[in-house]
Structures are given as C-alpha cells and as structure tokens.
Amino acid sequence: MFLHLLIYKFRQILRTRWVLGWTLLFPLILATAFYAGFGSIIKEESAGGMDPVPVALASQDADSPFSQMIRELSKKDAGQDQIFELTAADDQQARALLEDGRVTGIYYDNGEEDPGLTVAETGMNQTMLSEFLKIYINNYTVIKENAEAAAEGAADPRQAGRLAQEMAEKTQQILSEEDAVEPVKFREDPIAPDMQFFFALIAMASLFSSWMSTIFMESISADKSAQGLRFECSPASKFQAVAASAISGIIIQFAANLVLVLYIEHVLGLPFGTPFPFVLLVTTLGGGVGICSGMVISCITGSSESLNVAIPLAFTMICSFLSGLMVSGIRETIELHAPVINRINPAAVLSDALCQAGTYGVDSRYWTDVLILVIMVAVCLVLTSIRLSRRNYDNI
C-alpha cells in the first residue's frame, strides 16, 4: 500500500508543471539573475582571498602600540598580507568617512585606555574589525602585565622567584579564558559575503516545496476535495498516505536542490566553501521543513483553494526576505535585535548554516542549525499527525 501511494504521489507531482516550475526552474532563473548582478564580484573576492578592510584610525597618540600595529598591518610590502586599508583622520573626518561608507569602521586610540571601535552596520568585515580589537586587547593585557611584573621583579631580586611564578600563573589564566583570547577562526578561503544571496535563494527554493504538500493534503482530506472524500471512504491508512507524500516531496525537493546547488557551484562557478555532503544535508532538511510546514499550513487553511496557494507563497517569501534574499545584512540586523526570529525562521536557519560552514567551517553553529531544522520537521509532523488523526468532519 505504502509503495503504491509513494509511486502515485511521485507521478502526481512530477506531472504538475507549475509546481516543478516554482521548485526547479524559478530558483535556477533567479540564481542566474543574481549571478548576472554580482557573480563577478563574488568570483573576484573568492579568487583573491580577503581584500584589506578600509578602516579609519582616529589616534591621539601616533606612537601607541595599537596605532603602530594598525599601521604595520596596513603596509602593502610588509612581507605579509595587508589586512587594513588605513586612513588616518581626526574624529570628525573619520565619522564623515564612515557615514559615506568609505571605511568599514573607526578605531579610536588615545594611547592610555583600551582602544575602541565604531561601525555603522553589521557584516563580515565589521565582525573582523571587532574580533581583531578583542584579540589585541587581550594579548596586550597579558604582555603588559608580564612586563610590569618583570620590571617589579628586576627592582627587588628577593621577590623575583615569587613574581616569576605569579606571572606564569596569570598568563596561563588569561590564556585559558577561551572567550577572551580565542580568535574567531575563519576558513582558509572563506566565501564571499554576497554568497548569502544564493544561500537565501536555496532556502527559498526549499520552502517552495510547501506548495507540494498542499496538493498532497488536498487529495487525502474529505473536507478539501472530492478526491480526498474518495480517499477517506477507502480503508487506506491516512498516515501511510502522509508519509508517502512527505517522502516523495522530500525526494523531489532534494533533487531540485541538488540541481540548484550544482548549477550555482559548477555552472556559475560560485564556491559554497563547504564540502558537498554538508551542503546537501542542510538543503535536504530545508526541503523537509518546506514539505512538513506545507502540511501544517494545509491543515490550518481548510478547504480554501486560494488560501492553499497564497499562504505557502507568503510564508516562503516572508521567510526568504528575512533571511536576506532581497536585502543584504537583514539577517545580521535581526540577529542583533531579535535573534529569536532567526532561530524560528527556517530560511534564516538554512542560510545561516550554509553561511557559517562556508565562512568558519563546519562547526558547532552549523550543527546547531541542523538540529533546529530537525526539530522544525519533527514539530510539523507531530502537528500534522494530530490534525489528521480524525477521519470524520462536522461539515464537508
């Protein structure tokens, strides 16, 4: 019975042209359009590693260690990668540069207190400036304390042994405070920031599969269609039908995502920066969330045909928009002000997983995103099962 249902669900969907159009063709077209828009920028960024980050230094003490270090790291011929593209300026000029978008951030250094940073928006470069400053302050503190202790020890030879011991312990203590000193580890060749548009696109394509579910659900519920009424008059198991529908939908969406990922990476030549299986794991789970959320939507919308089309579309587009499909940095802004939205928006979770894996490698954040997607699938399946457990209606 299950196999019978599975085969026919496959046939049903594979012959529904508009679903295939939205699931497969539309994302390919959109990917091509994105590529035309900023594909070359992504390729340049990917080929050349990270460009120096434009930064302004508003320093009141040109000889302070921090100012010297920034200048050092801004040299083109220093025998190492140039990290910053430095503009020395006073406070007012620096602010003007930041407002014009000519620098990513302003480092403040008065030579006495810890240096500071101001950025105008969120993004990978801003994160990099912030992390650099954090690392500098921590390292500087360790070195400074060691140096002061060494000076004290030198002045009183009787205390030298004790001070040496304390210095060693303090240094160890500071270094063991992981958060304080461990820098964010980027992958060797992190993906270009604009790849987030493609990740959001994959998320959108995955959520479009919610449409498939509405078709499946229509054909097994007596309150939705005549076919559903016929189905419910039969002895066939509704749960088997739901399972067959979900599996066929996920397989079809998996294939569609596979085509999209291969198209982006190998035809358009834009690297995901993540091993293929990890990309597929996330996109498959994304398809699962799309299919299962479509089932929940279908349970809520009842027999209204227009709602069965409009709600999955609205759901997909809103989630995709909030994950950064149309506006750059929207996901990061939400992360700053209302991170919970990013945790419950499946498109944002999917984009984040791909973005994290591409930027920092497959780390705990990636697996957290995977876990969230699995939970979303499970919750949707439980809700659908509860709703579908009834087989008779007040009205049809």
């Binding site: 019975m1 009424l229 008779n392 209606y393 007040d394």
Partner: protein, 313 residues
C-alpha cells in the same frame, strides 16, 4: 429473511441551527437497488456521508453489514464503493492510472488489481481512452471514469450519489446499464438522484426524502397506487362555461377540475375509459377543444401529494 446490508436508525444531523437529517431511518436489504429520491438540499448526500462515517452526526445508529459503522472501520470500508456526485479523479493521472490508483487503496495484490482495473475499463466502455488524461475526456466519459474509480475493487455495497448529473442521454443509459450489471453480479446499490425517471426505471425500492425526512417508501408501483390521483386528463380549451365545469366534476371518478390558462386539468381517482367519457361529454356540450391527453401518475405526483410541492422545486 434477506440480510440487512445497511441499517440507519433515527439519524439526526444538524449544521448549526439547520436540521439537515431529521430522524431518518432506513433498512437496505442485500441485492436491492434502493433509490433515494428527493429535491436538491433534501439531505440525501448528507445521509450518505453520515452512513460512510465521513460526517459526524448528532444522533442515531448506523450499521453496515451488521456492524456499527465508525470512521476507522476499515474492513467495512473495504467492502463499500462510492461514486461521488462531484467527479473525484486526479487530473495528472491517465484514465488507467486513476482507476488503478483508487483500486489500489482496496486491493494490494498487483495481478488481481490489474484484472479488476481491466474489468472496470471494459464495463464503463473506457477501453479506447485508457491513456487519456481526465481533462481530455467529455463530460459523459468523465462520469464513466468517476464510476470506474468507485467500483473497480468490486465492492459488495455501492453508493451512487447523483452519478448522471450533467450527462448526455447516451452516457446516462450506459451508466444505468452498468449499474444494473453490477447489481446482477451481486452488489447492493444505493442510488441517490433527483431524476425521478431514472429512479423509477432502475430501483427496486424507493425512499423519498424531503427536509431530511423519509416521507415515503415503497416500490414505484406501490407509491403511485397510494395516490388518490390515478389519471390526469388535460384538455386545451379557450372557453368553458361554469356549468360545463360542474358537469365535468359530476363525471364518475373525476374528483378535481381546474383551469390553468387555456387548459383544463381533470384528475380522476380510478376507473377506466375516463378520457372517452370526458371527450363525449364535451362534444355533447358543443365545446370546441384542441389537444387532449392523458397522463398516468409519476413519482413527482407522489412527492407533490405528500409535500405539496414539485420534486424539481
């Protein structure tokens, strides 16, 4: 004594304040073709959906094959075939695939299923259209496909809910022949319709429904015999003096004479040669008249007499 295949006792179904089925009772015996006749909105489809446990109902008991019908009674559902009022097929599957898909919800064995699907295709005359998609079929062929999907698994009880709505006469006759064949092969049939001619022609017993109630029950002959009106004679006449009207009323077996435009409608409660007696009387009175014809009572007359309104109202 014949076994009761379906037993509905005191069924009540409300849609909020509206009483859709009003203490309806019915027993259907094995091998019967039972006609459920009533105007649109009389509660036929609601009753059927309650019988199938698709609709919840407020009161009453429903037994099918001697067992209480519930939404999860899969073994009972396995023996029922349903042909819906609305065509219930899947647009993206071919004719053959549609029949196979729905048959497969009942029959697991693939070889047996293939055999049954072929038989259903043969019976409904769809052999030349098996590869067609439903959208390519005419209304009549679509109805036949709808029937094939409902009967392919060879159920013991088949419910036809208005299967001939919007069907051309040729297809209608083909459908009715198919239903007779299924009945001859042993299936008990419930046939709902608001077409009295079909019900009269096909069904061995008829239940007339109105406002959710069982208002009359019996064979077509017994229902018509229960009427006072046994013959209606219609005479086209321009003018008829009142004394002639009274004379007509005085003829033996005539119990009602009414004028309707340029027609006189005369109803008789029995007797024979009523038409001859009336024509002779009009000629004796030198009345010029046009066409004269006689009508025997129909189920519509039964419905009219019981409810005071036409079946098609």
């Amino acid at each position: 004594m014949e076994t009761a295949v379906v037993k509905v006792d005191n069924l009540v179904k409300r849609y909020k304040e509206k009483l859709a089925v009003d203490h309806f009772s019915l027993t259907i015996r094995e091998g019967e073709i039972l006609g459920l006749l009533g105007p649109n909105g009389s509660g036929k489809t609601t009753t059927i959906n309650c019988m199938l446990s698709i609709l919840k109902y407020d009161k009453g008991d429903i037994e099918i094959f001697g067992r209480k019908m519930t939404p999860d009674a899969r073994d009972i559902k396995a023996q029922i075939g349903v042909v819906m009022q609305n065509v219930a097929v899947i647009d993206n599957l071919s004719v053959y695939e549609n029949i196979d898909f729905f048959c497969g919800l009942y029959i697991k064995d693939k070889a047996r299923r293939r055999e049954l699907v072929d038989q259903a295709v043969e019976m409904t005359g769809l052999k030349d259209y098996v590869k067609y998609r439903p959208k390519k079929l005419s209304g009549g062929l679509l109805r036949r496909l709808n029937i094939a999907c409902g009967i392919a698994h060879r159920p013991k009880l088949i419910i036809f809910d208005e299967p001939t709505v919007a069907v051309d006469p040729q297809s209608r006759n083909s459908i009715l022949d198919g239903i007779r064949t299924l009945n001859e092969e042993g299936a008990t049939i419930i046939y709902t319709s608001h077409y009295m001619e079909e019900v009269e022609e096909l069904c061995s017993r008829i239940v007339i429904m109105d406002k959710g109630k069982n208002v009359a029950e019996g064979t077509a002959v017994s229902l018509k015999e229960s009427l006072r009106n046994r013959e209606t004679i219609i005479v086209e006449v321009r003018e008829l003096p009142e004394n002639v009207m009274d004379g007509l009323r005085a003829i033996n077996h005539v119990y009602s004479v009414q004028r309707s435009g340029e027609k006189i409608i005369i109803r008789c409660d029995g007797g024979s040669h009523n038409l001859v007696h009336i024509i002779n009387y009009l000629m004796e009175q030198n009345i010029d008249f046009g066409r004269v014809h006689s009508e025997l009572p129909t189920l519509n007359d039964v419905f009219l007499e019981i409810t005071g309104k036409e079946l098609r109202d």
